[in-house]
């Protein structure tokens, strides 16, 4: 892996260990094994959700950086290029963009596939009746919408739905009657 992966791994796993230790500490003692299993599943799922929080922010930062790259790259081509042939600068910027955007798209496709395979394998080989009856109490993941005022967040969350509804309404609208006058 890339240089610095070990340090990042140590930091990430320390975070996960602390989250797991805190969740395990909350499991009640003196319960029967079935209840203990359910409580443990809850602790594991909640730990996974704790780890999802930095993962969510990593993806968010990646999109932000990519967006800033687009702006700065376009500015660099216009204002920072002193070449006679400006297409050289444009090609350099495009190369930098593509080397970030294409792997991002690849990871975006492969990541859910990877997790789907893992989950299917786990559910195939392990008795998972308990998962359907677990006492799961999900944690609240602070998403990027918390950075915006509630009205803006609500509007932004609603807008894709409104857009989709508008599209559906338009597609369901009956075509006007054509009168063949001639």
């Amino acid at each position: 892996m890339q240089r610095g992966a070990l340090i990042s791994g140590i930091v990430g796993l320390t975070f996960a260990t602390v989250a797991l230790a805190l969740e395990l500490a909350y499991i009640r003692t003196n319960v029967n094994p079935l209840d203990e299993q359910k409580l443990l599943l809850n602790a594991i799922l909640r730990t996974a959700e704790w780890v999802l929080i930095p993962l969510y922010w990593a993806w968010f930062l990646l999109f932000i950086f990519t967006f800033i790259m687009t702006l700065v790259g376009s500015f660099a081509i216009r204002a920072g290029c002193h070449c006679e042939d400006r297409s050289r600068c444009r090609r350099a910027a495009w190369t930098a963009h593509l080397t970030v955007v294409l792997p991002t798209l690849l990871v975006m496709v492969l990541n859910p596939t990877f997790w789907r395979v893992i989950v299917d394998a786990l559910l195939k080989f392990l008795p998972h009746d308990l998962l359907n009856h677990t006492l799961h109490t999900p944690i609240t993941v602070p998403t990027a919408w918390y950075l915006f005022p509630p009205e803006v967040a609500a509007l932004a969350r609603q807008s894709p739905i409104i857009f989709a509804k508008t599209l559906l309404t338009r597609s369901n609208r009956k075509p006007p009657l054509r009168t063949n006058a001639f």
């Binding site: 992966a5 796993l13 996960a16 594991i44 999802l52 660099a76 910027a93 190369t95 080397t99 970030v100």
Partner: protein, 139 residues
């Protein structure tokens, strides 16, 4: 490749602040994509492996196997340290024996309470998952 391209671009325009900033943002995006996202996914994978001991119908066999593996690993490490480097490393052996004894006492205490088998098993499983992920990160 993007980083190298921008290095050349910055070398061609040494006075330009915009190319410098472009390079910095590109490195930040690259690091987030190549380090942040995969490492956190691996951390979640380690957490997901905890489902294996948590969903086992009979945890006691795995519990004893794991405890035995840890004890054997510690004892083996101590023996290698002593016989390989002779008497120089005897404190390491002492440390290993104390640690093994501590773990043994703690496990024995835990195993008296049958209602905490799964939790003990998860605690024993976690170092294995962490070691596996760290090994992957080190590759």
């Amino acid at each position: 490749m993007g980083g190298k391209t921008l290095d050349f671009a910055r070398a061609a325009h040494p006075q330009s602040e915009s190319w410098k900033l472009f390079g910095l943002v590109q490195v930040a995006a690259d690091r987030t994509l190549a380090l942040g996202v995969p490492v956190l996914n691996l951390c979640n994978l380690a957490v997901a492996t905890l489902l294996i001991p948590a969903l086992l119908p009979f945890p006691r066999a795995l519990l004893f196997s794991l405890a035995g593996t840890y004890a054997a690993a510690l004892a083996g490490y101590g023996l290698v340290k002593v016989f390989w480097r002779k008497a120089k490393s005897w404190p390491v052996l002492l440390f290993g024996i104390c640690l093994a004894a501590g773990i043994g006492v703690w496990l024995a205490d835990r195993l008296r309470y049958t209602d905490q088998e799964y939790r003990t098993l998860s605690i024993l499983w976690w170092p294995l998952a962490v070691a596996g992920i760290l090994w992957l990160c080190k590759l």
